[in-house]
């Protein structure tokens, strides 16, 4: 009897010893998911929308470190309104168009986006070997939650299976937030400075319309078939119009009752003894008149902040033209654009034949500067 008890006691002891040794080994099989570490979600701009724009179609860049020694066949990104507990998808979030735009670290994944709010990436299951692996996955074409300034959470879970089923291997949650966009606005007032007169001078080096004198001008001499009569007037133009300005001249030719001086319909050098009325915007030579008439544009254009130029027909030295409505100047030197103030000088010439009827010839010319903003 005692012998039997001894055998029983010994057997029990050995059994307990074996159980004790093996129990921890079995307990190691408990499925405690490891923490995915160093994890973040960066909301990146999409094609047109800022990364955190509510309802914006953007890219979500996940960065984290996968623990080593685990088998990973799929990684799920579950979008939730809370970090834990029951997952409720944030309002407006759409992930069914999600793409796997890029991947690094543990690679070979493709996107499965069939379940809205819980896309996952899948690959042939493989062990994350060696040291913990820093990975990044850029999920493209995610529509952000539509509520402004809303915090939302993405629960990242890795699975040994390839379809994000079964127990999770490793988990970690990241938080992100939509944000109202800051809409910044301001107004640059449209500007145009334009004036005309017999003369205009500068103040502190800047053309100043306040110095413009009367617009009534007289020719330098009586009209004569043997010499060219000349006169000049000046204009100042400046604008911040993005497409610059254009200046037209408008009005009739010189007239005395029923008699007129013929306007120069095409650009030509002045010819004495011929009825001609024309203008240009150049510094002319004695080819035109005994006393040179006109001035070049001042300040000279540089193609950047000074852009004034005489236009075709009115931009050749000693050649003149007059057609009412013509553009005589614009701010397209170096490309159309705004221009700081410059002085433009219009030169007028009159030639007459010996038969030109006597009288006082006058005209009123109107210069119009039109900026295009």
């Amino acid at each position: 009897m005692q012998k039997k008890r001894g055998i029983l006691s010994r057997s029990l002891g050995i059994a307990l010893l074996v159980a004790t040794i093996l129990a921890p080994l079995f307990s190691m099989n408990n499925a405690y998911a490891s923490q995915i570490t160093n994890r973040s979600l960066t909301l990146q701009a999409g094609a047109t929308d800022g990364g955190s724009k509510p309802g914006g179609v953007v890219n979500h860049l996940f960065s984290f470190t996968l623990p080593s020694g685990t088998t990973v066949g799929s990684i799920q990104f579950a979008y939730c309104t809370t970090a834990s507990g029951t997952c409720t998808m944030p309002t407006g979030l759409v992930s069914t168009s999600a793409t796997l735009a890029s991947q690094s670290g543990a690679t070979g994944f493709t996107m499965v986006n069939t379940t809205n709010g819980s896309p996952y990436i899948t690959r042939t299951a493989a062990v994350v070997a060696g040291a913990p692996v820093a990975v990044t996955y850029q999920i493209g074409s995610i529509t952000n939650p539509t509520t402004p300034n809303q915090t939302f959470y993405v629960r990242i879970s890795s699975f040994a299976t390839t379809n994000a089923s079964g127990g999770t291997t490793d988990t970690g949650t990241v938080a992100a937030s939509t944000a109202s966009q800051i809409i910044l606005s301001g107004t640059m007032p449209e500007s145009l400075v334009f004036c005309a007169g017999a003369t205009i001078t500068t103040t502190a080096g800047v053309p100043d319309c306040a110095t413009a004198t009367s617009g009534v001008i007289s020719f330098n001499q009586l009209f004569s078939p043997t010499d060219t009569a000349t006169a000049s007037s000046q204009m100042v133009a400046s604008t911040n119009a993005g497409s610059g300005y254009a200046i037209t001249v408008n009005g009739p030719t010189l007239t005395s009752g029923a008699n007129t001086v013929s306007p120069m319909a095409s650009s030509a050098v002045g010819a004495r003894g011929v009825s001609q009325f024309g203008i240009n915007l150049k510094l002319n030579t004695t080819t035109t008149s005994t006393v040179p008439v006109g001035l070049e544009i001042s300040v000279p254009s540089n193609g950047t902040n000074y852009r004034a130029q005489a236009t075709a027909g009115y931009n050749t030295v000693d050649s003149f033209k007059f057609t009412s409505g013509d553009t005589v100047a614009d701010s397209a030197s170096g490309g159309a654009g705004g221009s700081d103030a410059q002085i433009l000088t219009a030169s007028y010439i009159v030639n007459v034949p010996g038969s030109q009827p006597a009288g006082t010839y006058t005209t009123t010319l109107t210069y119009i500067c039109t900026p295009t903003f």
Partner: protein, 243 residues
């Protein structure tokens, strides 16, 4: 023989104790039932962050002898009962529409906007600003890609996140309250100096942080020839926390 039996019996008892202890790892689990759950509960005075059921949620603490945050370069303690193991990040931009008014070549135009960030249980966060410089459709104000002061008459668009005295008294330093650790990024932290590079980090917190209120100061300078029109820009602020 009887002694041997006693010895085996004692050994078995020891093994049983060891087995029980060895197979019971100390995993903290939430106290919960079907209808109710306590998160982060502890024994002792106070110490419970969230308790909830389907229709009820509370956040509470009692009897703390110390509450607050102590931190050094390599160390940070958040004392008190309100702790949670979940990541939290909150972000808000009140208003959202900022009007700079009319530009003039003779003087700078300024405006402010604000946002706030809190991010607990994290290794900190970074804040980026993304968006183009204001444009009227055909012309875009030149962004200040190098940090510089305001120069009236020169086209400039820049921001910073600190209190300024030039070109006017505008802006504010980050307001960290009691528990915030947010700071303006170096490029945007010098008073009276402005800069704007889309995508750059403009603020950050090097560690878990309570609410920090930031003020963005906007600076616009224009030239006389800056094309006229209404200039607009949509600025997106992105906060990224690391957990």
């Amino acid at each position: 023989m009887v002694k041997k039996h006693v010895a085996w019996g004692r050994l078995s008892f020891v093994f049983i104790i060891c087995a029980v202890i060895g197979t019971s790892p100390a995993h903290a689990t939430p106290h919960q039932s079907t209808n109710y759950r306590f998160d982060e509960s502890t024994l002792g005075a106070g110490g419970m962050d969230l308790s909830s059921s389907a229709n009820y949620q509370a956040s509470h603490s009692t009897g703390d002898v110390s509450v607050g945050n102590a931190a050094s370069t390599n160390y940070q303690v958040q004392a008190g009962s309100k702790t949670t193991n979940d990541p939290t990040l909150s972000f808000s931009i009140p208003g959202g529409s900022t009007n700079l008014g009319d530009f003039t070549a003779g003087s700078a135009t300024t405006a402010t906007a604000s946002f706030s960030v809190s991010n607990y249980t994290s290794y900190g966060y970074v804040v980026q600003i993304i968006g183009t410089s204001p444009s009227n459709g055909g012309y875009t104000l030149t962004p200040m890609t190098s940090t510089d002061v305001s120069i009236p008459g020169t086209v400039q668009f820049g921001i910073n996140l600190v209190a300024n005295t030039s070109p006017t008294s505008i802006g504010a330093n980050p307001d960290n309250g009691d528990f915030g650790f947010g700071v303006a990024a170096a490029n945007y932290a010098t008073p009276n100096n402005y800069r704007y590079v889309s995508g750059e980090t403009i603020a950050m917190a090097p560690k878990s942080s309570g609410i920090t209120n930031y003020t963005i100061s906007y600076l616009v300078n224009v030239a006389g020839l800056t094309p006229g029109g209404k200039y607009t820009s949509n600025q997106t602020i992105v906060v990224t926390g690391t957990y």
